[in-house]
């Protein structure tokens, strides 16, 4: 389906989605559809080594045998995998020596997103790996990170420059046959981020990547791999915004985290893909597989603020393999209009004295459905494992739905597991109290919602917390009936 200037203008008139705009890049596009040739084409385009192509083809073979999962509490029109373009790269693929060389239009795009590189460089000391349509075009602070031996680059660069690391760790946490979308990703992933923190190094800045879907009808298949060597620490930020589209776009990413002995990884996400218009038309399908592996004494902490996407299907998980390892999951998921979210986490306790904490806050407004689905699994050898889960849901309209599906499986009698969940709406007395003090209803709800989510927002790095708060307010605009 073509996308004309008129349609774009029409879309721009529609202010429901603040970040809905399109950059006029010419893309280096592959023909639509998925086949062995396309995979070979992607692999050749990226000048990949033979072992990676073999992996892709293996995943493709496995994917062909798989069927789309249907157990999630979401309903949507299945994407047609033959109508998706699996490769599209901005034409200016040469690397920039300095910030000045970067295409001004690109700079403008980023300015509209409110994440201008200059600002970020100057004010926050954040290194940004900017991904536009699958190929990264700007990487900053590389030198400083280099000095510490930290590798932070796009996935394709990592394949070229550090094949031994990629080969060693890729697919160890999320095997290519793990699930339908992970297999699809493993076959056709185009780019993503790679991060390697050497032994004992504490990464001095927040690492962040901004993903963005740009070309109409392009499925984005990102692949992120973060490896934290023994005793290292890294905080990784990921934020997404996508332009307005009429047809559904598929986003099937795979994120793998590996925290070796005594290492810590903090992974924060603000997800704001296009959620579809107020009638539920369009919007991004976000089917993501995120999983981390903790070795001895390691810690992985997932924090996510989910406000976008028409359909979300996402369970950032921790495999607590090493003794004394810790997994954390903090999540705020907001759905409005006709959005659907089925999200949660999996905490797999394998090692002794492993601990996990789950705090999940769901907010549903409009006609949306928001589900928490989580698994806490204590294996037989996980002595003294400990889990605490809290899942609260807030309902903002009588047409929305909030659902909780926790799975608690315990095979060890020294484990302690607690789970609690509540579902309710904002108290009329709370709103009345605010109104009494001259705060209008809309603001009062913003206030209450922010207070409700505070436990999770506090986990975010500062810059993100501000952005996330704004997002919550924007997402819930006009949702009170």
């Amino acid at each position: 389906m073509g996308y004309t200037e008129e349609e774009l203008a029409k879309d721009l008139e529609n202010q429901e989605y603040k970040f809905g705009f399109t950059s006029n890049f010419e893309s280096d596009k592959a023909p639509n559809g998925l086949s062995e040739e396309i995979i070979r084409f992607i692999s050749a385009k990226k000048e990949e080594p033979a072992w990676l192509l073999a992996k892709r083809l293996q995943a493709y073979e496995a994917w062909k045998e798989m069927t789309e999962p249907e157990w999630a509490h979401v309903h949507y029109d299945k994407p047609s995998f033959q109508d998706i373009c699996y490769y599209s790269a901005p034409k200016q693929s040469k690397k920039y020596e300095s910030w000045d060389d970067v295409d001004p239009e690109m700079k403008e795009t980023m300015a509209k997103l409110g994440i201008s590189l200059e600002e970020q460089q100057r004010l926050t000391g954040t290194a940004v790996d900017f991904v536009m349509d699958s190929v990264s075009v700007a990487t900053s602070f590389k030198k400083k990170l280099n000095e510490l031996g930290i590798i932070f680059c796009s996935f394709s660069e990592a394949v070229q420059d550090h094949p031994e690391l990629v080969k060693k760790y890729m697919g160890t946490v999320v095997p290519s046959k793990d699930n339908f979308y992970a297999a699809l990703n493993s076959a056709v992933f185009t780019d993503g981020s790679f991060c390697y923190i050497p032994k004992g190094v504490r990464c001095p800045m927040e690492l962040s990547t901004y993903f963005r879907i740009n070309e109409g009808g392009t499925g984005q298949f990102e692949r992120t791999l973060v490896v934290a060597e023994k005793g290292s620490y890294v905080s990784y930020l990921e934020g997404c915004t996508a332009p307005m589209r009429d047809e559904n776009q598929l986003h099937a990413a795979v994120v793998e985290l590996i925290a070796l002995d005594d290492a810590e990884i903090k992974y924060s996400t603000v997800q704001n893909w296009y959620p579809g218009d107020k009638n539920g038309k369009g919007g991004v399908y976000n089917f993501v597989t995120k999983r981390g592996l903790c070795e001895r004494n390691a810690k992985i902490s997932w924090t996510q603020v989910e406000t976008g996407s028409a359909v979300t299907w996402k369970y950032p998980s921790c495999i607590l393999k090493g003794d004394n390892s810790i997994g954390e999951f903090y999540s705020v998921a907001v759905t409005n209009n006709y959005q659907q979210a089925d999200t949660g986490t999996k905490m797999i306790h394998l090692g002794k004295n492993t601990k996990s904490t789950i705090i999940s806050k769901g907010i549903s407004a409009g006609h949306s459905h928001n589900s928490y689905r989580g698994l806490v699994q204590i294996h037989g050898n996980a002595e003294n494992a400990r889990n605490f889960s809290q899942c609260d849901s807030l309902l903002m309209s009588d047409t929305s739905g909030a659902h909780t599906f926790p799975y608690i499986e315990c095979k060890n009698n020294s484990a302690k597991i607690e789970h609690e969940a509540t579902t309710s709406k904002i108290g009329e007395d709370q709103i009345f109290y605010c109104k009494q003090r001259g705060i209008d209803e809309e603001k009062a709800i913003g206030l209450i919602v922010n207070g409700y989510c505070k436990e999770v927002l506090n986990q975010l790095p500062m810059e993100f917390a501000v952005e996330a708060q704004k997002l919550l307010e924007i997402s819930l605009e006009n949702s009170v009936g």
Binding site: G401, A415, E418, H419
Partner: protein
């Protein structure tokens, strides 16, 4: 679907004989069974329970005589309705003079009424096998604004090897009526037998039904129950399910609340030892406003036993001011015991207060230490702690004769004094 020789259900029912009268319930059930298969653990509802141990065997229906003396409840003054291997035994039953009550064969049930009331219920392969190959059952009716003079005791005994008991009961409480139903399940030398029970009920406006279910079968039999209840406005329903019996138990309990101002209460205790598998599956569906429901299930698993709790609360759109509470607590006493807990909430309305909690843990060592410093042996201290843990639920059994029976059973089987 075409009937093939590989069809496991077909093989399973091959040796069974459908009741001769062949009412439409039976015919429909037999029809629906066509092409159905037994659930595997890939089916969400049966994720934690493998039924292969049952479905790989074949069973037969067999009417028998038995001695039920030791399965009676001491001192309980009740209407006694006895089923041996799922067949009604009139000689052992005593239905007293009670103008409020009518107890008839399940065949007397008005079919139009039945299908209208049970329209919303979801059948599964076991409830269909029960209905299609039903061995016996009663249709209990309590008259309008009446209270039964005595509780009704449905005593089920399975005896003999490889027996299937397909008893199906229907309890109908007319407007403003009240009764207490006691269902007990026992087995005697019933190696590899299978109790496959269905109880359905309709609680009309302002009616009040209490059910006490005691599942004390021996650990060499299988037990699957499917219970469906429909509540009309302003009705009250309470069920206490106490399970210690059978090798594999699956208690499926479903309540559809079809009216305002209803109260539903479900309580359960499950105690597993050896290699028992005890599965409690509950569903409360709220369709109308201003209702409350409360659910408390507690389990203690020892040896190699497995406990499963799956509780689901659904609040449908437009059901406002619902207060639903659900809690599940589990204690694992041994290293090889397992618990799978899945408390679910599905809420489609906004003005609700729903909460659930689930805990899994072990006995508090500090508390045991405290008791030991006071001269109580470790073993005794543990028993005391377990007793206190499940005592919260047992205290909801407000019929003293039943409570005595439960206490006595626990004393005999676990050596726990309450």
């Amino acid at each position: 679907m075409e009937i093939t020789a590989e069809n496991k259900v077909l093989k399973f029912v091959e040796g069974l004989i459908p009741p001769s009268d062949g009412t439409s319930i039976r015919k429909e059930a037999l029809q629906a069974l066509n092409g159905m298969d037994f659930p595997t653990t890939r089916v969400e509802e049966w994720k934690y329970t493998r039924v292969g141990r049952i479905t790989n065997k074949t069973f037969q229906q067999e009417e028998r005589k038995a001695n039920i003396e030791k399965y009676k409840i001491t001192n309980l003054d009740a209407h006694l309705v006895v089923f041996v291997n799922g067949y009604f035994d009139a000689s052992l039953s005593t239905i007293k003079e009670d103008k409020a009550l009518s107890v008839q064969s399940i065949e007397k049930l008005d079919l139009d009424y039945y299908s209208e009331i049970m329209e919303e219920t979801e059948e599964n392969v076991f409830s269909l096998i029960n209905k299609g190959y039903q061995t016996g059952g009663v249709y209990i009716k309590v008259g309008e604004n009446e209270k039964t003079a005595y509780p009704i005791h449905l005593l089920h005994l399975t005896t003999g090897e490889g027996i299937i008991s397909n008893a199906q009961h229907f309890i109908h409480l007319e407007k403003g009526s009240k009764t207490e139903l006691i269902t007990t399940y026992d087995s005697d030398e019933a190696e590899n037998s299978f109790t496959n029970i269905v109880i359905e009920g309709h609680i009309e406006e302002n009616a009040n039904l209490t059910i006490q279910k005691l599942q004390f079968e021996e650990k060499n039999v299988f037990h699957i129950s499917n219970e469906f209840f429909v509540q009309d406005p302003s009705s009250q329903f309470k069920i206490n399910t106490i399970t210690t019996g059978s090798l594999l138990t699956r208690n499926g309990l479903n309540v559809i609340v079809e009216g305002e101002n209803c109260h539903t209460e479900m309580n359960g205790v499950y105690l597993g030892t050896e290699n028992q598998h005890l599965d409690n599956h509950t569903l409360i569906e709220h369709l109308y406003s201003n209702c409350t429901s409360s659910e408390t299930y507690k389990g203690v698993m020892d040896d190699k036993s497995t406990g499963v709790f799956n509780g689901k609360v659904i609040v449908r759109p437009n059901a406002k001011k619902i207060e639903a509470y659900q809690s599940n607590g589990n204690i694992l006493l041994s290293k090889s015991s397992t618990v799978n807990s899945k408390p679910e909430l599905e809420i489609y309305a906004d003005d609700v207060r729903c909460s659930h909690g689930s805990t899994t843990g072990q006995l508090d060592e500090d508390a045991i230490y405290y008791l030991r410093t006071r001269g109580i042996s470790e073993q005794k201290a543990k028993k005391l702690m377990v007793a206190a843990f499940i005592g919260e639920v047992l205290d909801k059994v407000d019929n003293s004769d039943i409570r005595k029976k439960v206490d006595q059973h626990f004393l005999e089987h676990f050596g726990w004094v309450f």
